[in-house]
């Protein structure tokens, strides 16, 4: 699953550390999410979308090829 976390975060001038703190996760988790190495749970995806004031669909792009990852 692809996502726009890095794009949205950079556009708003938010540091990875600050986003991690706001979401209650480690900075490494944010980095892994941005690099597409880790797919978040629906709970974390919801928290991320809510933090940016967007919907889950606006932040995460469902990719059928990566479904088995």
């Amino acid at each position: 699953m692809k996502n726009r976390i890095e794009e949205i975060r950079s556009a708003r001038g938010i540091r990875q550390e600050d986003l991690a703190k706001a979401l209650g996760v480690s900075r490494q988790t944010i980095s892994s999410l941005e690099n597409g190495r880790y797919n978040p749970s629906i709970y974390l995806a919801h928290k991320i979308a809510k933090f940016f004031g967007l919907t889950i669909e606006e932040v995460f792009i469902f990719d059928e090829e990566g479904e088995d990852k």
Binding site: G24, V25, S26, T29, S32, S41, Y43
Partner: protein
Amino acid sequence: MKFEGKVILNIFWVILGAALMALSSFGAIDAAKWFSFGAALLFVGVLQGIKNIKYIKNEKYKEKVDTEINDERNKFISMKAWSWAGYLFVIISGVLTIVFMILGNNQYMMMSSYGVCLIILLYWISYLVLRRKS
């Protein structure tokens, strides 16, 4: 486990370690066997105690530990590591069983094959329990 539970367990290790060391020093139990075991328990207990005090007093450290514990990626990695460990254990035990069978060492062959059987049994029990829960 909650923090209070960890503290109680930690105190238990310290008391048990000190008791084993004392009993082995007075000759009540075999010193060769139990003194070092008691010392190890005491050491782990004290070390964990220092970490617990730091957790209570240092707000920044507490936040770091809490994030590490609650971080969902960390939990995922931990579960995956256990899964890999299980697979590796089965593979290594399986290979060892064959090696010991070829070498004609029946005792070790049986031990390693029992290891494979045990972990497969535990897997199925866990699977059935989790299937009911989920």
